[in-house]
Amino acid sequence: MFLSSAEAIERLVPEGTGFLAVGGMHMHNNPMELVRELVRRRRGVRRLLTSPSASLAADLLIGAGLVDEVATAYIGFEHLGLAPAYRRAAESGAVTVLELCEAAIVHGLYAGAGGLPFTALPPGLELSDVSTANPEHFHTITDPFTGERVLVAAPLRPDVALIHALAADERGNVFFAGAHFTDRLMAMAAKTVIVQVERMAKAGEIAAQRADGVLPGFLVTAVVVAPRGCLPTASHRAYGYDEPALRSYLKLSRTEDGFAEYLQINGMAAAGVTA
């Protein structure tokens, strides 16, 4: 249950993992310690699923060339700018983009979590180009109740989910603080779940949480205790994002050489890593 980040990635995210989901939202609650371990080990995945709005975690994995296809609705840094590595890879075709929308991600994860074979989407969502651009993920079928044509999306069932929570108890029950975005849903939909936490829970702390803020341990495969392990992204109710560090990443990663330098500086240029 309790592993180091190295053990967790080594054992639970085998090379060539088909479908990896990474939690957090924007520059908040990205499970960076786990992501850095993936980069150190050069663990490639066929498909990466992000939360509805990803930032550093996705940009790093894509920049390191570890992702064949990314299923996402947003990778960027809000007011700090666009995602440099994602831009470069998407513009060159180095990564394939499965463009989704928030509804396809959230309802798709709901379907994955609940064993629903697919999800119908609200009328009007077919008017964006998201479904047109990704014909393998969306279909238009006839609503058997009304006869109308409706858009449906595939369920999302990640092989592995990497998420962050505030604390865990001995049984692997974890709880979230602040907002937890789509992290619980992602964990509920994934076969293997690695949770990065700031610390161990105090006695009685989990039981005092509301249902919404807890992920029961039977849904958790492994816990990695990594204090301040979301930095430079924020960990809600623990610390804010490190804006200078993020700006430094954004500046360096404008070029491939700079990106390689960032990995080097941040201890991610493991043996076997080539820029």
Binding site: A73, Y74, H79, E99, G124, L127, G178, F181, G240
Partner: protein, 257 residues
């Protein structure tokens, strides 16, 4: 007697956007949304008491914005009247009869109010890969859509977006389930939509901006109104409220006017 009050483009835009909101309505916004958040809070304190607003990914309902923050998921937004989970926000956006005003934006915005936050150029090998549209497809289900952009140039305001993240008025037959785009607010002007053609129509010029400047900076030819008004400047009361909220000066980073 008169006093000269300086204000920034961001402050002007926030005041304009606030005036779009009515008492008791429900508004929502996505990423990079300090501007519409400030507009909503300002509206609550002035002309739209009882307004509800949902700060995107944070799930915060009526965040107190003390202080206004840059990231749409900052934990300080959770200091709010109530908080929803993100999946519940997605349900609320989808139901179709709950959201009165959706604040939208894009790297590209076109004459029908389509917004693109995805690929610019070719879908598979774009010249500029935008971040993605997040929940923008839901604009189709909102009561009305207020589009805002901190850039007003020909790369942003185009005849046709390359990719529709958030749909505007359709060119062909068939309509939107929701009310569609109602106003675009830029650093230079506001544009509404001609009721007949559903094409963008210049509505007001911001103080000091000329028609030529707008036409030069716009990649399509907006319909011109019978009479072109000047956007009313923010009042001292509006500015005072905005500056109390915005202690970090997020709205004052642009040019002052």
């Amino acid at each position: 007697m008169s006093v000269t009050v300086e204000y920034s483009t961001g402050e002007l835009m926030a005041a304009v956007m606030a005036r779009q909101l009515r008492p008791g309505e429900v508004a929502i916004m996505g990423a990079v949304s300090a501007l519409p958040q400030a507009a909503c809070r300002l509206a609550q304190l002035t002309t739209a008491p009882g307004l509800w607003f949902i700060a995107g990914g944070s799930g915060a309902v009526n965040p107190h914005l003390e202080p206004l923050v840059a990231s749409s998921c900052d934990e300080r937004l959770l200091d709010a009247d109530a908080v929803m989970t993100l999946p519940d926000v997605i349900l609320v956006e989808g139901r179709g009869d709950l959201i009165d005003v959706f604040f939208a934006g894009g790297l590209q915005i076109d004459i029908r109010g389509n917004c693109n936050l995805g690929p610019v150029g070719s879908w598979s090998h774009p010249t500029l890969r935008g971040p993605g549209g997040v929940g923008l497809p839901f604009v189709a289900r909102a009561g009305r859509v207020v589009i805002y952009s901190m850039s007003h140039d020909r790369r942003t305001f185009v005849e046709h977006v390359d990719f529709v993240s958030g749909p505007g008025f359709p060119a062909g037959p068939g309509g939107l389930p929701g009310g569609g785009p109602s106003l675009m607010v830029t650093p230079l002007c506001t544009m509404d939509f001609d009721p007949g053609t559903h094409l963008a129509r210049l509505a007001t010029l911001h103080p000091g901006v000329t028609l030529e400047q707008v036409l030069e900076a716009t990649g399509f030819a907006p319909i011109l109104p019978v009479k072109l008004e000047t956007t009313p400047a923010p009042t001292p009361e509006e500015l005072s409220i905005l500056r109390r909220l915005d202690s970090a000066g997020l709205l004052r980073r642009g040019a002052s006017r």
